[in-house]
């Protein structure tokens, strides 16, 4: 691990996050957006883990577990919502979910 600078991890994490953001902003399929959100969460996880090893602290590692737990729960709720939406609208295109439009 020593050989690889922490900057790479950070860089990878940033790249992953940006891909996730772009995915959320650009794609219309709720499932893809969902996956992009997962990507951003994991980018954050990667950054946590990287800083944890640099700082010799376990706090980051523990945080990652929490995040993975929350992410799992989030996926469960989110997928349930998507299923519910699909049942009413026969579509999971987020652009069509605009009932609260002003």
């Amino acid at each position: 691990m020593e050989g690889v600078s922490v900057n790479y991890y950070i860089g990878l994490s940033a790249i992953l996050f940006i891909i996730g953001v772009l995915g959320v902003l650009v794609r219309r399929n709720a499932l893809v957006i969902f996956m992009s959100i997962e990507l951003m969460l994991n980018a954050a996880n990667l950054a946590f883990v990287a800083f944890s090893s640099v700082n010799n602290s376990l706090d980051g590692q523990i945080f990652v577990f929490f995040i993975m737990t929350v992410a799992a729960a989030e996926v469960a709720v989110g997928l349930a919502l998507i299923v519910a939406i699909f049942r009413t609208k026969k579509s999971i295109d987020v652009d069509q979910i605009n009932l609260l439009k002003g």
């Binding site: 652009d95 439009k101 002003g102």
Partner: protein, 707 residues
């Protein structure tokens, strides 16, 4: 002897009953009269008046027992404001008792007569309520007249003065729905109105006199005013007071120029004409002057005006009386003329003569009027007899009435030779006529001669009065002679006159009493040494009065004039009696003069043209032009209404709509537009929200990093 001591002796405490008895009578009739018979109503009213007479007699008796000292009987407090202390106090002195005796005495006789008269009036259709109303009014009149003559201040006098004016109005218009001929008409109501309005003009003058009196003397109580006036005589103020008072006198006592109401007042039932418009109320003006004698004595100029007005009225009214055909109209103008004699007498300071003539005139003129009423009813009975003589059923009345032409039972041209049908009335009328004409030894002879003698003696200070009164006396005898010849002698000019019937005793007996008074009334004040009773009686109130002896010159001239006048009237009306439809024989020789007399010198028409027309025009101008066109159309509609409308429009349109409403509208608009703009942000695209969140986060992070 002071007043309170005097008040404790005798019957002076009874003074308020002068007013109470008639008031009790009228209240009794008002409350119970509806269920009483006519006779009972009349009896109650006559008793009430009779009791007032008894009280008057007792007061006069008590007064003579206290040697005629004036007694005041305080009765009620009325108005106490600062300087103004007005109480209802009865003043019993020799003057007021004479008036009380005349009013209640003659009044009672007329009450009794009216029981018979009112029952027979053609317009009386067994309506007990009407009957009751008549006697209620009569009693009210007696009460008011008592207040007038017994008041101790000008204000109490004025209360009575107005009260009798009201009664006069009510009784003139008593048959407000029928005229004197029994036809449907409002003529009587009009006559009542005329009397009331003419009197208001006079009362206005009297009020001014009262105001001036209070303003100058600070009191209205007789003694206080007279004392103050004598202590500091101010000729201008006293002249003003006396002349203002004279206006009141000309109104109430029917003198020139306000006399016009009295002839019309004959529209009232005949007892009313006798009581109010001959014997009592119209003499109130004379009483007022005598009562105010201390003021008139101080200003010769005003007294002369009073005397001249009286003398001119006496002559003027006498000329009109010559040309009248209605039996009551002749007597009405005769009354005006005789009132002129009284006013002339009191104007000259001959107060005793004035009051003497007032009393005797009350007797014989009441007698004449009531006899005239008896004649009119007699004629009506004849008329009724002719119309319904052949069928005894009253049911047939209705369709007969419609076909009958209007018959005037009071027109002397319809009469003639009535002494055959109505002998009692004839003799009674003769007594009254001779008294009025001033034939020795009837009452009028003594009283009129005293006035003429006074006028002769004062000719220096009151030039002209004697001559005017002498001519008036001549005319008086002439028109009374004319009346006698036309009514009682000659041939019956109509069928009705042939069937006239005598009146019942309830009417003739009071007339007999009056006739006795008219014959013997002169005994009150015989012009011989040791007599002059009325003069000595009134001395206690009026100060020393010199009893004038009989002046054979004056008495002789007046008697010769009267006899001459009766002779002339015989020549013209008696020798060749008037035929049916023949015009008055005086019409030709006198020409336009008679036309003037016949038409009352066109005074009513003159007043119509000079006063009533311009007044109506002014009223019309005020109502149409000033009130309607100017105030209503222009001021209200144009100025106020349009101005308000303009202001309201200005406030509503530019101010309210333009500014206030616009502000609210703009606010709403802006809110709406901004909300519209802002709502566009919420476009429903989740991804755009996410982008905003991202940009926000980037901005915040950027700020935190590069600050």
């Amino acid at each position: 002897m002071n007043f309170s001591e005097a008040a404790n002796t005798g019957y002076f405490f009874l003074a308020p009953w002068l007013v109470f008895f008639p008031v009790i009578g009228l209240l009794f009739n008002m409350i119970f009269g509806g269920k009483m018979s006519e006779k009972a109503i009349g009896t109650v009213a006559s008793l009430a008046s009779g009791m007032a007479f008894v009280v008057s007699v007792l007061l006069a008796y008590s007064l003579s027992a206290t040697h005629g000292h004036t007694v005041t009987v305080p009765f009620a407090e009325w108005i106490h404001i600062g300087e103004l202390q007005l109480d209802w106090t009865f003043r019993i002195d020799t003057l007021s008792t004479v008036m009380m005796l005349v009013v209640s005495g003659v009044g009672t006789l007329i009450h009794i007569y009216a029981i018979g008269y009112m029952h027979e009036d053609v317009r009386f259709k067994d309506d007990v309520k009407r009957f009751r109303r008549f006697f209620v009014f009569l009693n009210l009149f007696i009460a008011m007249m008592m207040i007038l003559v017994s008041g101790d201040s000008y204000l109490m006098l004025f209360v009575g003065w107005e009260g009798v004016g009201l009664c006069s109005f009510l009784l003139i218009g008593f048959w407000y729905d029928f005229d004197t001929l029994g036809q449907k008409s409002t003529a009587n109501a009009e006559a009542g109105k005329k009397a009331f309005i003419a009197n208001r003009v006079g009362d206005f003058g009297f009020l001014l006199a009262i105001f001036t009196t209070f303003w100058h003397f600070g009191s209205l109580q007789f003694d206080a005013v007279f004392k103050a006036a004598e202590a500091h005589p101010d000729p201008i103020v006293i002249s003003a007071i006396t002349l203002f008072m004279l206006i009141g006198v000309t109104g109430k006592s029917a003198q020139v120029p306000l006399y016009v109401w009295l002839p019309d007042a004959m529209a009232g039932p005949t007892p009313v004409s006798a009581l109010i418009h001959a014997a009592t109320m119209v003499t109130a003006g004379v009483y007022l002057v005598v009562r105010s004698a201390p003021l008139y004595n101080l200003v010769h100029g005003a007294s002369y005006i009073v005397a001249m007005i009286g003398a001119v009225t006496a002559l003027f009214a006498a000329t009109i009386a010559v040309g009248q055909y209605d039996i009551k109209k002749v007597l009405a103008y005769s009354t005006i003329s005789q009132l002129g004699f009284m006013v002339a007498a009191v104007g000259m300071g001959a107060y005793v003569a004035g009051i003497f003539h007032l009393a005797t005139h009350a007797f014989f003129k009441a007698l004449l009027f009531l006899s005239a009423g008896s004649i009119i009813l007699g004629m009506e009975r004849g008329h009724h007899h002719l119309a319904h003589g052949h069928d005894d059923h009253g049911d047939a009345d209705a369709h007969h009435d419609e076909e009958e032409e209007v018959f005037d039972p009071g027109d002397m041209r319809n009469m003639g030779n009535l002494r055959k049908q109505m002998p009692v009335t004839f003799w009674l009328y003769m007594a009254g006529t001779l008294a009025l004409a001033g034939i020795f030894p009837f009452a009028g002879f003594w009283s009129k001669d005293e006035i003429l003698l006074d006028a002769k003696l004062h000719a220096e200070h009151f030039p002209g009065v004697y001559w005017l009164l002498s001519i008036a006396a001549f005319l008086t005898a002439f028109y009374m002679g004319r009346q006698i010849w036309m009514v009682f002698f000659g041939k019956e000019r109509t069928e009705v006159a042939k069937h006239a019937e005598e009146s019942p005793p309830v009417m003739t007996v009071p007339l007999m009493v009056l006739a006795v008074l008219a014959v013997l009334g002169g005994a009150m004040n015989l012009p011989f040494d040791g007599f002059h009773n009325l003069g000595h009686w009134l001395e206690h109130t009026l100060g020393h009065v010199e009893g004038l002896p009989l002046d054979l010159g004056v008495a002789g001239i007046s008697t010769i004039l009267a006899l001459l006048a009766i002779f002339f009237s015989w020549l013209i009306y008696g020798k060749n009696p008037l035929k049916d439809g023949q015009p008055d024989p005086l019409k030709k020789p006198l020409g336009f003069l008679f036309t003037g007399m016949e038409n009352k010198w066109f005074v009513d028409e003159g007043y119509g043209a000079l006063v009533i027309k311009p007044f109506e025009k002014l009223a019309k101008f005020l109502s149409v032009t000033v009130d309607w066109n100017f105030w209503h159309d222009w001021f209200h509609d144009s100025v106020i209404y349009a101005g308000f409308k303009g202001l309201a429009r200005f406030l509503s349109e530019p101010v309210d709509m333009g500014i206030i409403n616009a502000i609210a509208d703009k606010l709403a608009d802006m809110t709406k537009r901004s909300s519209e703009g802002l709502s566009r942000l919420q476009n429903g695209f989740v991804r755009s929200y996410a982008l905003s969140v991202l940009l926000g986060v980037v901005a915040i992070l950027g700020y935190l990093l590069f600050k």
